[in-house]
Symmetry: C2
Subunit: 573 residues, 2 copies
Amino acid sequence: MRTSQYLLSTMKETPADAEVISHKLMLRAGMIRRLSSGLYTYLPTGVRVLRKVEQIVREEMNNAGAIEVLMPMVQPAELWQESGRWEKMDAELLRFQDRHLRDFVLGPTHEEVITDLVRREITSYKQLPLSLYQIQNKFRDERRPRFGVMRAREFLMKDAYSFHLSQDSLQQTYDAMYRAYCNIFNRLGLDYRPVLADTGAIGGSVSHEFHVLASSGEDAIAFSDTSDYAANIEMAEAIAPAGERPAATQSMQEVATPNVGTVAAVAELLNISEQQIAKTLFVVGVAKDDAPASLVALVVRGDHELNEVKAEKLPQVAVPLQFANEQQIRQLVNAAPGSVGPVGLTIPVIVDRSAAHLADFVVGANKDGYHLSGVNWDRDITDYQVADLRNIVEGDPSPCGFGHLVIKRGIEVGHIFQLGDKYSQALKAGVLNEEGKHQIMTMGCYGVGVSRIVAAAIEQNHDEYGIIWPDAIAPFQVVLIPMNMHKSVRVAEATELLYQQLKAAGIDVLFDDRKERPGVMFADMELIGVPHSIVIGERNLDNRQAEYKNRRTGEKQLLDLDQLVSQFTALLK
Amino acid sequence: MRTSQYLLSTMKETPADAEVISHKLMLRAGMIRRLSSGLYTYLPTGVRVLRKVEQIVREEMNNAGAIEVLMPMVQPAELWQESGRWEKMDAELLRFQDRHLRDFVLGPTHEEVITDLVRREITSYKQLPLSLYQIQNKFRDERRPRFGVMRAREFLMKDAYSFHLSQDSLQQTYDAMYRAYCNIFNRLGLDYRPVLADTGAIGGSVSHEFHVLASSGEDAIAFSDTSDYAANIEMAEAIAPAGERPAATQSMQEVATPNVGTVAAVAELLNISEQQIAKTLFVVGVAKDDAPASLVALVVRGDHELNEVKAEKLPQVAVPLQFANEQQIRQLVNAAPGSVGPVGLTIPVIVDRSAAHLADFVVGANKDGYHLSGVNWDRDITDYQVADLRNIVEGDPSPCGFGHLVIKRGIEVGHIFQLGDKYSQALKAGVLNEEGKHQIMTMGCYGVGVSRIVAAAIEQNHDEYGIIWPDAIAPFQVVLIPMNMHKSVRVAEATELLYQQLKAAGIDVLFDDRKERPGVMFADMELIGVPHSIVIGERNLDNRQAEYKNRRTGEKQLLDLDQLVSQFTALLK
């Protein structure tokens, strides 16, 4: 490609409305333009990267034995009513009517459509397992689309679905998909981690997320510093402190804590560490029969944070998690939220493992302006239950038994689920099994955010000059930058020859043939992140050489023109 | 690919709801499944063909210098209001609101979005000409979707748009696109014709359609039997009959024609040919100032048909064309439609060239049950105008001046337009020209129905056993059919070896490894239209041979196993 015949559309200014670096750089590098909130047009440089990501994903899906299909983006409401998601999903599911006033949705995902397809096509256990995938646009009407294509409303996704008659078979395909995802992110040249994840609204049991590591990532991921263990912080287990709980040495007594409402303030007033305080949070419990839902007390150590995903998994707690308001708390214990504690409660009390390991600790007295000190489990509070309730913190022992946890930030770009029979049961998707009986299938689903990968790759790979693409997904593998070509026939001819040779060698090469100053060309090529550049100038041509530069390392070297193509091809490997 | 790891999903039964052969065969061959009216899921065999068509289109667009972009399917209403199409388009334009109650459309095409993009990105004449294209889903809420993917609501299209400052530049790109389209359809292996076409609702001046010829085609195309001339019958010019109009020999007189209302009946009653009759049609004229629209009389020869597209181009006629109802006609001439004629009218009378060449002809008398015979132009009707108003018929002289016209049927799969400034004017899309002045750009647009091509290819290439794919877009280039492989290790091993060799040679090969009778395998492979098959059986293995068969010609030949791959590769070229 010659720049003069291309739409480079780079911008010098940093766009005011872009918050994250990938969004800024995608705008500045001429990769995308905003059409409307959460809707982006991909300019040529954006399309080139997107198509390369798409092709790697496609090849690895094929290698994993998944078969490509293509489902419509517009889907009839009936299937969503059948699965129950028509009612359950909020306004993120875009609903509309066609000219005949029939209800449709713009597909945010395709579980319903694929399950409907498979229940019609597949009749016998002999046709299973089956893995189908597509690379298709999705639409999610996000309340607040942001960060460019990172959280857009219309976006490109690879979604795969697998169908089985046994958990064993599902596990095998799940493992194959896990490996395929590793292959994808390895080939993309990204630093990533597969992490244990929550299954959330999609449903199912086992689940892994694939995160591209980047300090700007929205998600926190916990890793063992010794083993392969990695989990989304939502999921990372906080294990019980080692050893026996210390014995009680103090008696419980009321201490005045006027006008202090936070753990930090109580610790300061009483001159103790936050670790010696247990904080109590009230949440709404599950309603039993016709009685109104009572509250549930959740207790964590003063220096710890409640993990809401873990709390939602407690059988006593209503989903979604709902904190009690001040009025509900006062009705229960007649104290402000800053003075509450677990002593004397008649509601369920669930204590985090670390809080349950405390002795002689401080809690709110359920009386405004007072706390209790010298509190001890089993002596002062007898009816309670212990569970993993908190977020892990750096330095916690890894739940795998090896090493300690460190926390990094990541951007979720893939998610694989063992769905079970959530959709197949709702849509009665079954086959005849070996015994000739009708059996509901079990399912897996496997998503990759194709357009999101583009943004995540930039979050991970950039510097103050612009993007630094991994070779596999660079818009161009190499750029030829001639010095003053419009004044030097020799430079023009040498560059043209190199351009033809590199193209003939199957290399994706950009020839910057603009009438621009060298500085402008260097800046543009660094901004759009071409990983390799070759500068052709009069001086080096005297020695039949040209200067190669590596965008990532800054390394420069002179290459002989006559061997440049073979040397460069070797360099790419 | 091995059939056992594939989703073949062929069907023996012909689906009842499919009207055209391509729809039937796409269902039977397991290429598509209906999700809802006009919405289809592509099964693996369908996707394979679709992607091959897509890739050929992409490569030829790139070769023509167009640059790929990708625009959202969801588009904000504001742009459509700016172009005026928000009001002008009927319910085919699907409008909806997002969660914030803002208006959007599902893009049926992308003129507005691309013109908006270009007016923001392009500021100088130096950046022109520019051609951008995308391969993207479209949605048109057809009143009556039918014929499978031939007229679906959601479909895949390649749409390109070019921007210029002069008609010369537009013409150059238009010509390049014309050649690119020829390259596309040549590579696809289809019998097609570029034809002059009407610009219709999209607007603009020059336009060509690309038609795949098939007897089932919806469009009629007129060709010269001598030259390259080809035009949609809507557009094909009917030239005036040669020579002078014969002189009048009869005087005009009233003849009773009781109870005859059709040209055929009048001809029979009066014992004359239909060619001696002129039929008069009343349509609604353009309203002038505040006066109600009067009617316009259109006169064609009795054996000819009015061409509505031509009629709509008359300045006197209201668009869209609207025939007068019986009441309006009676108000004007006090006669039934079967007894009307041009004599004595005070409204505009426009006469087709062939009708205007008649002498001593018959027309309705504007009096129920009567006609006039011996009518002559200029003597009996003085105030009239001559125009090309009729459909051509086979045997008409070609308007190019060479040969005569023949009519064939075609399926429109591509359409290129010189748009002019319809959209750029509405959206004020201009650049600074060489004189430093703001100048509105002129545009071209160029569409290919990617999914429609798949159906059109089948309409043109099938027999009673199924589809016959051209090599370039076949789901598989060749299928290996082993005879009783599950009983013969020798057959299994020979087939496996061939499979690996063909794959290694880069050939898209299907290995039918199912435990099925040979008859079932042959029938399935003929149905899905694999163009080449190789049968591996015990008997031929004795001579280290296998039997090749060509799906289209039925030609069979024995190939030596040791040279099979090279022989087959040669055969593909």
